[in-house]
Point group: none
Chain length 272, copies 2
DNA sequence: GCTTGAATGGAATGAAAATTCTAAAATCAG
DNA sequence: CTGATTTTAGAATTTTCATTCCATTCAAGC
């Protein structure tokens, strides 16, 4: 029994697998190969399923897990499950502690937020659906005028998008709400709307999206949750997993997505 | 029992959740909220775990699943597990796949920008001088009104800062240049200016910084190089090493820095 | 305030899954 | 070719987990 020598993370696990290399008997080797080829199945399957898929009886798969150093399949599966949703730190709590401990130097804060941003961006590549992204770019590339709306904390993103489009010579209107002008009537069929909003969803943004939908515009939504009022059927909804820090929302991932969107649209239109 | 009307995919599931909206009793609502907030946990957790995390007994979670239309938790989990493998690969693997997926596709672009953002943010913690940061926070925490200027590409950062300060109840003015109003005369001694600009430096931003300097304001600069016209003696200059992707420059690191600045100032002022 | 229906929490149940055990098969050394 | 050792498959067992049931609480309507 190799217990106690179990890999502590996925990288170590695959490293171990490589080391054990050819020393494994036939059935155990099949297990190893199958896990390497389908690592994504491990977290959501039963031994029976994995064993069947690998072409071995469950008991063989059991022995495989133990050979690696785990106590059993469940132990190994735990590793795969934890690795996927590496729990996001609770930044609100950490912030409070920093403040209490007096250790809240700006540099320490910066390190916290940098970490939050890094995690957000890494998760971005996971949470954005490839096909929806394609569709969003199609929609915007084919639109007459691109309308952009995003208020309060989404406003910086909206201004960035509007700036990018403008710089590339793409017709774009930023609905900023400045002066309470109602620019809704400028939206006509053939145009498209990019609506950006996070909980608590700004009513004005949602309202403009509704109006756009009624007028038959294609809508691209940048939002945070599947249940967002912006994520309705027919809308190309892109979800950004951004971390809230206290009452403040980081925008690193959102800005990254916005940048990608605008550049992709520019490329599709052949203006850059 | 609503069996037979169970959602067939995740999109339908969340759509259903949105429909059911507020019609749910307290405990069931807690379940709904938790699932919406942690969709990636569902595939790899047990009812007991999810229920505990949502703050309800397992039986409540069970009722939630059935209320949605599933026969039980397992049925609902199946849906989440099917979706799981698409998102699985770890960041490095996924990135590689996205990239080789052919340059030009939006997803490949996203991978590039995500990587650029991640690296930029990591460099940020190294390139920002601890003492300068301290001084910048001191300056802003002690200022009467905080003036913020940033145009063109830096405008989103400026709006973000202004929004943050406003939300914390800190007096701040955003010098946007809208309508070519010259708000420079609003700057009085005891105020401070945050000026954000990157090469090629926007003349208006530099001019406003000059004006502020003449009027005796403390200045915090967010810029890209030591040779920036904003980085003059007496100015607390923070340098952001943003990485280029082709001809485009991301803003992830800059936004992260902006967020840190605003929160640090808020903490120093004890308003958050 | 009382009645009625819904909502809740916790314990009981049954199913499914992980794990172990053992006999048979395969492999290898001499 | 034969005995020893490893490997294997499937059945037996134990554990975990989903699910149900029921007594209790809560809330709405009369």
């Amino acid at each position: 029994m190799d217990a106690g020598t179990a890999p502590q993370n996925l990288a170590a696990f695959f490293e171990r697998l490589r080391e054990m290399g050819d020393g494994l008997p036939k059935r155990l080797r099949q297990c190893a190969d199958h896990v390497v080829a389908n690592p994504d199945r491990v977290a959501v399957s039963t031994v029976a399923e994995l064993a069947a898929a690998a072409g071995v009886p469950p008991s063989a798969f059991m022995r495989f897990c133990q050979e690696i150093g785990f106590s059993g399949f469940s132990h190994m599966q735990r590793l795969f499950r934890e690795d996927y949703s590496q729990r996001w730190p609770d930044y609100a709590t950490r912030l409070a502690k920093l403040r209490e401990g007096g250790a809240g130097t700006p540099s320490a804060l910066l390190a916290e937020f940098a970490e939050a941003g890094r995690v957000s961006i890494e998760n971005l590549t996971r949470s954005v659906d490839q096909q929806v992204m394609e569709r969003a770019v199609d929609v915007l590339a084919g639109a007459g005028t691109i309308h952009v709306v995003g208020l309060r904390r989404a406003f910086p993103v909206a201004t960035y998008l509007a700036y990018s489009f403008e710089k590339m010579g793409i017709a774009a209107v930023l609905h900023s709400g400045v002066g309470n002008l109602d620019l809704g009537h400028m939206m006509t069929a053939g145009d498209a709307l990019v609506a950006i909003s996070f909980a608590p969803y700004t009513p004005d943004t949602v309202a403009l999206a509704d109006q756009a939908a009624r007028r038959g515009l294609d809508i691209v939504a940048v939002t945070d949750q599947q249940t967002s009022p912006l994520a309705r059927p027919g809308t190309a909804a892109l979800f950004v997993p951004e971390i809230d820090v206290g009452a403040f929302r980081a925008l690193s991932a959102t800005m990254t997505l916005a940048m990608t969107l605008s550049v992709a649209v520019g490329m599709r239109r052949r203006v850059i």
